[in-house]
């Protein structure tokens, strides 16, 4: 198990990167602590798999170093880094039995057979495949195969980290929950450092202690699920996390007050923004209260999603979403109030202040 340090890592697939857009991964500089569960969350093409492959050593970064427990491993091969990786599609050795699949990484490393047997048997118990040990791996279901992939990583009990590259993509929805909770249990039991790539926010939020949100090749925020929800550092985090995402409304900043169209809101403190910055106010639909008083809105549509309603409305010419309780009354002359703790102010998409 190891602490992972990403030291000014940049990566470009092309040979001569010049501008930022040539980089699949722009400057990543972070330290991930030993035994942590990190989820890399972001849309397709945001660089999360690139980052994962750099950590695993399948890819050499164009710039920067990567350290495990302070030891530079940038030039080490995947094998020498001693990490495990679980891929999007289950990778198993078809012609081998389940037992031999799990024994494979140990035998390759010259572990003696008695030790191999003990560890493989333990692992078969842990991943609930003890009854399948003698079966050929080929005939198994996708989730069982994925468990074997995981088991092959865990069976080497000294791995520095286990990396997951969207491992639940091909798993049936009802098995996803089962696998995810098993994975969480294993993480608690073994305490391995875990990096989990996904584009599914539910998966990321339920899974990880820290969620790393990536966007256009950079990490825009690392935080707990609550932090990401309450104080998104970037408007992208605001609308990528949460359903529906954060409302982002163009605004004008004037000391400690913001102007939204014809409406004016007073803030507790005055955020500092440079001249000419594009100022926006972000507020999550959960922090908007519908009522008879406040700022006027025009309601366009109401979506009933069961326990809650999503109200689509126009506010000062901007479409916004509002979350209301199932039995909340929607007045004809609707007005809204913004709850102060839900207000975030952004300059050029980056958070400069708010009430919370």
């Amino acid at each position: 198990m190891a602490r992972i340090t990403l030291d000014h890592i940049r990566h470009a697939y092309g040979p001569n990167p010049v501008s930022d857009s040539d980089y699949a991964l722009r400057e990543v500089h972070h330290e991930w602590k030993d035994g942590g569960a990190y989820a890399l969350l972001g849309p397709s093409g945001c660089g999360k798999t690139t980052l994962l492959n750099i950590i695993s050593g399948l890819l050499q970064p164009s710039h920067g170093r990567i350290l495990f427990d302070g030891r530079d491993v940038t030039d080490l091969s995947t094998q020498a880094r001693n990490i495990a990786q679980v891929f999007q599609f289950p990778v198993i050795y078809d012609t081998m039995t389940v037992y031999d699949n799990l024994a494979f990484p140990l035998r390759n490393r010259g572990v003696d057979e008695a030790d191999v047997d003990r560890r493989v048997r333990d692992m078969l118990q842990i991943i609930d495949l003890a009854d399948w040990a003698k079966r050929k791996a080929r005939g198994l279901t996708a989730d069982q195969k994925q468990k074997i992939s995981l088991g092959r990583g865990l069976v080497r009990n000294d791995v520095n980290a286990i990396l997951f590259d969207e491992p639940l993509t091909v798993i049936d929805p009802h098995m996803k929950w089962v696998l995810r909770s098993q994975l969480k249990r294993l993480h608690k039991q073994f305490g391995f450092t875990m990096v989990y790539v996904t584009h599914d926010q539910t998966e990321a939020l339920t899974f990880a202690d820290k969620v790393v949100v990536m966007y256009e090749g950079q990490i825009v925020q690392i935080g707990t699920p609550a932090e990401l929800f309450e104080t998104p550092r970037h408007t992208f985090v605001g609308y990528f996390i949460g359903s529906p995402g954060m409302n982002v409304i163009p605004a004008r900043l004037d000391g400690s007050s913001v102007t939204l169209g014809s409406q004016r809101l007073d803030l507790a403190s005055a955020p500092t923004a440079a001249e000419g910055d594009r100022i926006e106010l972000g507020i999550r639909p959960e922090f908007i209260r519908l009522g008879r008083e406040g700022m006027p809105v025009t309601i366009r549509r109401i979506e009933d999603i069961g326990r809650r309603k999503i109200v689509r409305a126009d506010f000062e010419g901007q479409p916004i979403a509002i979350v209301a309780d199932e039995d909340a009354e929607i007045p004809a002359e609707a007005h809204v109030r913004f709850e102060p703790q839900g207000i975030n102010i952004y300059a050029n998409s980056w958070r400069i202040g708010g009430e919370a």
Partner: protein, 288 residues
């Protein structure tokens, strides 16, 4: 869902059935017809029963030719399959090299059999051939017209040159279908080059290899044109394979009865051996 039964569907397969009837079933039946009768021309036929089969199966000539065939096919498979796999493994997976290699590989396959035969016939000639002359100058005694071993080597090298590409292309198709994740996982698991081949590449190539082995076996077992052009079955009978013998018998000696009986035996042998290959190579699939 309710299934509808409609006998009109038979009309859709009718063209194929008619085609197969004319191209395969009827010719085969005429061969069967010849094999149990004796004829002296003039459309006179006499019932011969199993006489021709007895004659063929008791003739040393047939068994010797069959042995030559089996040995030839065995050598061909033993050379072309490993060589084909080896070349496929070393072909580039991306870049400009891919089309170049594919075209180079496909070239021999595009050349007609008798042309291949002629090329090698000239190539190997001691008086004017590049190969024959070069070897003679180097002091190596090579003469496919006189020496049975040299004739065999020539025919085998010619077949390897002509058909290894087929194995290469089939294996290559199998190899490129393996997702990168397998290689990455193998790296992470610390697998050796041999393990990667044994546990990832070979299993993934298995299906195409089965096809390659079957095709190469059947083709090599039917070998006719190339040895006919190069050696004409000689020297002596040393490269007289079943097919060459068959043609000699049917066209040269006009022994239609024995030739037909031999054709049927020949056909059954190929059928039997192909079935054995197929069963053996697919048996491991069945167990899981």
């Amino acid at each position: 869902m309710e299934k509808t039964y409609n006998n009109k569907a038979w009309f859709f397969v009718l063209p194929v059935l008619v085609l197969v009837l004319f191209s395969a079933a009827i010719p085969l039946m005429t061969v069967v017809n010849y094999s149990v009768q004796d004829t002296f021309g003039n459309n006179e036929f006499f019932w011969a029963g199993t006489d021709w089969f007895d004659e063929i199966l008791n003739s040393a000539r047939f068994w010797e030719a069959l042995q030559r065939n089996l040995l030839f096919s065995f050598i061909i498979l033993a050379l072309e399959i490993p060589l084909g796999i080896f070349i496929a493994l070393n072909m580039p997976k991306k870049g400009i090299g891919v089309p170049v290699c594919l075209v180079l590989m496909a070239l021999p396959l595009l050349i007609p059999w008798n042309v291949v035969g002629t090329i090698w016939q000239v190539f190997g000639r001691v008086d004017i051939g590049l190969l024959g002359r070069t070897l003679a100058v180097l002091g190596i005694d090579y003469n496919y017209v006189r020496n049975p071993l040299d004739a065999w080597i020539t025919v085998i090298v010619m077949d390897v040159w002509h058909w290894t590409s087929l194995v290469v292309l089939l294996c290559y198709a199998g190899l490129v279908s393996i997702p990168d994740a397998y290689y990455q996982a193998a790296k992470i698991d610390g697998a050796s080059r041999w393990s990667v081949f044994r546990y990832i590449q070979l299993p993934k190539m298995k299906r195409v290899l089965l096809i390659a082995v079957l095709l190469r076996f059947m083709d090599s077992f039917m070998i006719y044109t190339e040895p006919f052009v190069v050696t004409g079955g000689g020297p002596g009978n040393s490269t007289t394979f079943l097919s060459i013998d068959l043609v000699k018998m049917a066209v040269g000696q006009f022994d239609l009865g024995p030739a037909a009986a031999m054709s049927i035996v020949y056909f059954l042998i190929i059928l039997l051996l192909s079935w054995i290959f197929y069963t053996v190579m697919t048996s491991s699939d069945a167990e899981s």
